[in-house]
Symmetry: D2
């Protein structure tokens, strides 16, 4: 990736690759070095203004939509900053009181690793030359597999993170939820399924769509998932033939919901997903470290390949309270207007996956590796 590749920004939702690198560095420099390392001075006093994302408590910041104009600092300068911060962090790594904050910094960086990939994919897609970010081989042709349902009898379930490992604040507090009998598909919806939806007029049938979704389809002229053209999709390896058996991806909540309506099913709630997910191996499936990853190819289990839209709005759990201070802005303030996705995608760092993890996006957004898994009432 060149300095120029790392600088461009294709929409306000996405950030330049260089910006992601700088922002995660800023996070460590600010919340650890500045706040906890006596005598530390900023690498460059002017850069926090540029690389604070949305922390109001950290003051004014550069406009999000203008991140793509920052040809300076250069990629090399940002890498030097990162090396400087890495070195400065050494004395703090052994301090037990800082372990939670360091863990947060690492988890934060893992989230940005995924965003970096989806953002650069979007930027390269905007280039008529369709350049590749990585190479990967041809997907192995696979046969359509048997498809079944995972049934659940309902009852009172335990929801949210418990125990020792790391979790974000929005995964708690752990609490009870009442579940009605339901079944969750043991497979993701595939490109082949989606072709059938299109062939049946899915994008032209108002009755299948939420009102906001139908407006979006009309306004944007949507006729297929993002990155589709004829038999191809744009991937991190450039334009590639679409695999009919691979999970469909780059769809909005509106599309997921319309597809479910067309199929006579529905999306699961996030609680339904979680109670099933608790019984699955979160480290299985096609995730970021797998060979040939960063494209979905249809792995078993609930995790990997694509984030799965649920019909649950992203809202606080009972008795949720954000943390004090700037890091309290991490999750809580986004709890309006978005929907929860569960699972993990082909671009998710594996350690980042767990049953209680709550990803969230606006219903029209689809540049992430988003897909769906159907549910039905029993």
């Amino acid at each position: 990736m060149s300095d120029a590749d790392a600088t461009i920004q294709s929409m306000a939702d996405a950030s330049p690759a260089k910006w992601h690198l700088a922002h995660t560095t800023w996070f460590f420099e600010t919340f650890l070095l500045r706040d906890h390392l006596a005598g530390y001075t900023r690498f460059d006093e002017r850069w926090p203004f540029l690389f604070n994302s949305y922390y109001e408590a950290e003051g004014a910041r550069h406009a999000r939509a203008a991140r793509g104009l920052l040809s300076r600092p250069s990629l090399d300068e940002v890498l030097a900053w990162r090396a400087h911060v890495d070195a400065a962090m050494a004395p703090l790594l052994a301090r037990p009181d800082l372990a939670p904050l360091i863990e947060l910094g690492i988890q934060h960086e893992q989230q940005h690793q995924e965003l970096l990939l989806t953002d650069i994919q979007h930027a390269l897609w905007n280039n008529p030359l369709g350049p590749a970010y990585v190479g990967f081989g041809t997907a192995t042709a696979r046969e359509e597999t048997a498809r079944g349902w995972i049934e659940h009898p309902g009852g009172i379930a335990r929801i949210g993170h418990e125990g020792e490992g790391f979790a974000f604040d929005n995964e708690g507090p752990s609490h009870r939820a009442l579940i009605e009998p339901f079944a969750l598909a043991d497979h993701l919806v595939t490109n082949r399924d989606w072709d059938a939806f299109i062939a049946d007029g899915g994008y032209r049938t108002a009755a299948l769509w939420l009102s906001d979704g139908w407006s979006w389809v009309q306004r944007e002229g949507v006729t297929a998932p993002l990155y589709w053209r004829e038999g191809e999709s744009f991937t991190l390896a450039g334009w590639r033939q679409r695999d009919p058996e691979a999970p469909v991806t780059h769809i909005s909540y509106y599309e997921a919901d319309a597809f479910a309506a067309w199929a006579g099913m529905r999306l699961p709630t996030e609680f339904e997903w979680e109670v099933i997910g608790q019984g699955h191996d979160a480290s299985a499936g096609n995730q970021l470290d797998q060979a040939g990853a960063v494209r979905p190819h249809g792995s078993a289990g609930l995790f990997g390949d694509v984030w799965q839209w649920t019909r649950s709005a992203y809202l606080p759990y009972p008795r949720f309270r954000p943390a004090e201070g700037a890091v309290g802005e991490y999750n809580g303030k986004f709890m309006s207007g978005q929907f929860v996705l569960r699972g993990a995608s082909c671009a998710t760092p594996r350690g980042h996956s767990r049953a209680s993890y709550r990803n969230f996006f606006y219903p029209h957004q689809r540049w992430q590796f988003t897909g769906l898994r159907l549910a039905k009432d029993l």
Copy 2:
């Protein structure tokens, strides 16, 4: 109200008064007379295009934002249409098979009665002359009343409409919900409370706000509820001195949520509100037929004065299915991006109120009589 008053439209969210009258007439003419009265011919074949609101199954329709350009048909012509439809309905009123549809038509019309009032208020507010729609006397000065909490021990509650009376499809199916111990305020937040929030810098303190809310405040330059200027508010009777003891109204979800955060409390969920509401008289309180109504003045009980924002996103209840045909578009297709409000307002026809009723608006909208009632965990 003149023909001109009934014609203007001040924003895409609102409709002209004449349009409301015509649209409710269209509803009866279409779903009852056309579909169920043999030999009925439309009063004017060209008008359905103008007065269909959002029923995709009923075909193309006039653009919502352009409703204010329809100086024709005139108010007199629409009133003649209405008289014609009323007369034509006579033979259908006795048919038991049509009773549910007629009931829906009436309930639909009651909803539009409320919208007509909030929409004309918005239109008149846009006129620098600040004309009045109705007259009402000076509010009686009242003392600040004692304030308490209604406690609930939690448990599994029954939610949604049951029994004989009318309800919209989105109020069902009746189902169980798990409630944690909580308390709901026995009073609405007042103008006096809101003045304190403003005086304490509420609109300038980012930490109190949802991220989307803060963007909205910044973008729109919001510093007070809608219709406020200095010590006055704009009402259906024109500009009036604000009563500090009256419930605050014309606030967005963002404002309600920020106020709750400032007060160290939270908004109730719609289920919490409903379990308390089940024990209250829905026909009590300041509603449309009360003398001096169409402004909140602080009545007892849960119903009346203002619709109360809950922290629940507007989503389908378990096993919800919209009705077949065009009337299935009534509620279900709006289930994304909006929040539920409960109660009833000073502009709500009294028969229209019940504990299971789910009103819903986008979080930035505030031209309805919207307010809030606090909740807290126990």
Copy 3:
């Protein structure tokens, strides 16, 4: 025209009929009664804010795009204001010192008479019912007439208003202009001509268009003059069959220029038009007082039917100085970005026509009765 008809506004460029009436009344009340009639008090102190158009020297004013929300004052109230002002004007009519200002007020009102007609036409066109403002009979079918050119040998011409009669400030000072030999068509371009332009792909041929014009065509999806649909056009009498021999109207400068390019000709300059116009009877032709007027039908002479786009930008004449005070804002401040039109239209009050008259609009505007007359070099 009903109160509602007189209240609606279909775009920011246009104003409600009631507003035109009120604004011309405001002009007399402000610049004559307030300034020159001792003891005069405003009919309503709050109305100048509403009905000042663009006179910065007269202070703040209502937003132009919101004029259509003014259901109050009602049409009756504005008519009463007008009667009051007319009566109050009586003692001023005999004062010689005020004659120029009164003349300006009358000429100003005549301009608004024309705008009122073109604005209500636009508003009614926005109504899917296509209501008529006036009735007029079927146009007499006419044969295609012989077409010729009016030649001019070039030289130094006298341009601008001279002599006794009224003229706007922008028509002077009278000055010399150098003209090269040219010819001006003795006829207007007709609907039949325009059909040929369309049939030949005029709207799809980039090479014919100015760059801004081509962007406008692409952005707005323009494929015909405003108000055309199949064989009909929308007129003040509603949708009517188009007469092939009538002058084409409701075209933008961009369209006029593209047509001229397609025809291998060009538009005249305003000076070329004026030197020819000086030899024609300005009171001839199809103008507002003619029976069956307010649609072009192809009269002889240079005046009437349609305003004719020239290729001259609207700029000050040499030594032009705007008048002192608010009325100095009448014309001079609009001298950027617009093009001059000459002649008069079927909606122009006859006394308002003269060879030196400079009408002006932005190159994309076409809701006036705008057309074209070709020119060529000799």
Copy 4:
């Protein structure tokens, strides 16, 4: 300049530096190599789509506003293309029939050299770090010089390019123009003058402004020339102290016109400027090759430092006809809505300057080195 610097685009009006390089290369490859070198094959078949600017005859092209997303081809690849094209051009350089087209390619490239500088200045200004593109020393402090007027008695002048040297098509045909007696200032308006305009409330006095200009001032919140902050301006060498004696630059036509009104003068017409310019040395003054250039510093003569707004709209000269084919799109199609500037700026290649040269921009644009020279009637 890094690959990233050369890739970014700060607004649709400006282009990335790399794009300028590629576009001028495309011009030679297309109109010379492709059209006139037998057997030439494109360096890359996909690039013309990216680097055609606005030539409709050359087919579809990349959206102007998306040029900043082209991280590929890289700067190195574009430089390799350029070297390839330079080499391929060798056999064509000796062909007399191609000399006019080669000259056009060179002149075209010189225009883009100037745009490259003004565009990168704009991009770097958008970076809160304010990086420098070049270094230059501190300007020598200078005393306010005597100021006079160049008088002209009026008469019939010869306007437009004549003779042997190169000129763009819009500089002809040579023709006569009638000039009234006038005087042109022998000096440019300076920063000191502009400070006086600001101090006198120039940006707050509606009466000084064209209507469109006043709207622009209000809408954009304009209070000073582009690139000003307190005592500094942003230059190609970063933020620098402003020299009061240097010519003011980065002003719009609206500002130039308002200043002239404030000063009781006016802007010259382009013809007035040209008749005076004919008597001056076009190769004098501060232009691109001068040491310490790319900022205005106040040179003598009419050329150099800043382009000077005239009050002439950019329109065709009498008998003007664009060239056949794609190169005919060079100038003619922009002849609406823009104003002519005369002279040359500190970023203009010296050979590119001549009395007949017509530069043109929209009246709100000011990222070029634009300034003004006053005129008055005699």
